[in-house]
């Protein structure tokens, strides 16, 4: 494709839109939906090549939020990386912490007391509720209703964040898990607050579904849009609700059975079409399953220490070796791969970011669709730029 001049699109002073001639399709329109476009979730850019109305080529461009997270991890102690994991997927700091803690515990062979495992499950499921309701809110924002579902989702999210704040001290940057347990033991009234939230959340979900799921305009806008086949999803390494929407039954909580998940009975919803509507519905159904897990975990929470007494806080030097710990985060399988050379700093510190990997197939879903659909498909893939760029 002969591009008239090779200056990158929307370079300073360049136009955000450029006409391009392509020998197969004739006159095309190359549009840069720039890093500050209102409907991209954070600093993310798509160079979309349009033949009239339909998308011919879509090149995602990111890296604007790269903070050198992994190289930093190699130069600080294991403990010092923990607060940085909050900044990976800044919506779900609890699950990031847990994934890193699981990896280090596997590396150093630490045991985690029973109560800490239960508290970790409770916090992970609360984060899943928070993330999925935010996703549905942002998706509706892209579809065009002026922020109403997003505000309802944020109203519920605030309640969960207040719980996290009263437990860990900060709403989004919790820095709560430690290697071998959790930092603070949840008090009785905190658990009562969590119970109240779980009981009230069902009513919110019913109201949310009444507003959205049956909405004809929404169904027309999302059904059949951004269809993803299970074969492509598996080969591209897509994980999480996007994979389950294509019908593949792969949920780490069932596959690995890590933590105390095998003790709870919950189901894993699966979609058949793998389009945007399925991805939205799978998240709504997963929220209902999380409520079940939460009530069971809150009921069965045992007593005992929150932190393994033998766990050392400072001067933590795991023996040389490598480990890969992974959990089922709200966006998919979030994993940490660590190589230790016996010193206080990890030799290699690698994060497996689910939203980055789910993003690789964005073009396959958007080909042949209009720009308005591309925006919704991007919204349904649920990416957070902190995790994509690391």
């Amino acid at each position: 494709m002969s591009v008239s001049d090779l200056t990158p699109l929307s370079a300073p002073g360049g136009s955000t839109v450029r006409a391009v001639h392509d020998e197969f399709h004739g006159d095309l329109l190359e549009v840069s939906m720039g890093p500050h476009h209102p409907s991209t979730h954070g600093v993310f850019r798509m160079i979309v090549t349009l033949d009239g109305e339909t998308i011919v080529k879509l090149k995602p461009v990111f890296g604007y939020l790269h903070r050198n997270h992994e190289k930093l991890g190699e130069n600080t102690t294991y403990l010092a990386s923990m607060p940085y994991t909050d900044r990976l997927d800044y919506l779900n700091s609890m699950t990031n912490n847990w994934a890193y803690a699981v990896a280090v515990e596997k590396l150093a062979g630490l045991a985690v007391p029973e109560r800490a495992e239960y508290v970790r499950v409770i916090l992970a499921e609360l984060t899943r509720l928070l993330n999925h309701s935010c996703l549905a809110g942002f998706l509706m924002q892209d579809c065009g209703c002026s922020g109403t579902p997003l505000m309802y989702a944020f109203r519920e999210r605030e309640k969960i964040l207040d719980l996290f704040e009263s437990l860990s001290g900060s709403r989004m940057m919790c820095n709560y898990q430690r290697f071998g347990g959790c930092r603070v033991d949840p008090s009785a009234d905190w658990l009562a607050g969590a119970q109240r939230l779980t009981d009230g959340y069902g009513a919110f979900l019913d109201e949310f579904e009444a507003l959205l799921t049956g909405n004809e305009i929404l169904m027309a806008r999302t059904q059949g849009v951004g269809r993803l086949s299970s074969a492509l999803a598996i080969s591209a390494g897509v994980t999480g609700p996007a994979l389950r929407a294509t019908g593949v039954a792969h949920d780490l909580r069932k596959v690995d059975g890590y933590g105390v998940y095998p003790r709870f009975d919950f189901r894993v919803p699966l979609g058949d079409h793998g389009d945007t509507y399925d991805r939205y519905m799978i998240r709504i159904l997963e929220m209902r399953e999380s409520l079940k897990i939460l009530s069971q975990a809150l009921a069965g929470l045992p007593g005992g220490p929150i932190m393994d007494p033998k766990a050392k806080l400072r001067g933590f030097r795991p023996k040389a070796g490598e480990a890969y710990g992974r959990i089922e985060g709200p966006k998919g399988e979030i994993g940490f791969y660590l190589i230790s050379d016996g010193s206080a700093n990890p030799y290699r510190y690698r994060v497996r970011p689910p939203s980055f990997i789910n993003l690789t197939i964005l073009e396959d879903m958007c080909l042949g669709r209009t720009v308005a659909d591309a925006v919704i498909i991007l919204g349904s893939v649920d990416i957070v730029l902190g995790e994509v760029d690391r």
Partner: protein, 174 residues
């Protein structure tokens, strides 16, 4: 009170039509013609035929102006197609002006010499919409239906003519 209003409306119609004729920029001339059509509608209002005036605005300013502007946009000649016009423009303009001047003088002479003694200050015959409707449905019912058929056939034909055949793409070529 009647005559100065008529002069003003006449001036608007003739001025905008004349300027539209002279302008190079196609869009401006099309828009000026729309102005002259609205002037004609004002004339109908002056004459007391409200229904016709609003029909004129609805059909011309609402519909035909859109079709004209779309046509003007769709047929933008490529910038580099300034071919020399075969019969030189000056000659052609002169011939056109001469012909229309002749026709004009004949009609004007006919109007001035005719001894149409029209009651100058006759009240405008009050034609309400109901009588118009009765007229249309009564003696002119056949004509109304015919115009309906003409309109549908004409628009269907227009769509077929204007619809672009799918441009043959190079990869389809044998």
């Amino acid at each position: 009170m009647m005559i100065p209003a008529l002069l003003l409306i006449a001036f608007v119609i003739l001025a905008s039509a004349g300027v539209a004729m002279v302008l190079r920029n196609l869009i401006h001339s099309a828009l000026l013609l729309v102005l002259s059509w609205t002037g004609i509608a004002a004339f109908y209002l002056w004459a007391g035929a409200e229904f016709v005036a609003f029909a004129q605005i609805l059909v011309y300013a609402g519909g035909i102006s859109m079709v004209v502007l779309f046509a003007v946009l769709l047929t933008r000649p490529a910038r580099d197609a300034e071919l020399p016009v075969t019969p030189p423009t000056v000659l052609r303009i002169a011939a056109g002006l001469m012909a229309s001047a002749m026709v004009g003088s004949i009609t004007v002479m006919a109007v001035l010499t005719s001894h149409l003694v029209a009651p100058a200050s006759a009240r405008a015959p009050g034609l309400t919409v109901k009588d118009l409707g009765a007229l249309l449905a009564g003696p002119h019912a056949a004509a109304l239906l015919l115009v309906g058929v003409i309109l549908t056939v004409a628009l269907l034909g227009a769509i077929i003519i204007a619809a672009p055949e799918p441009a043959p793409r190079p990869e389809d070529q044998p």
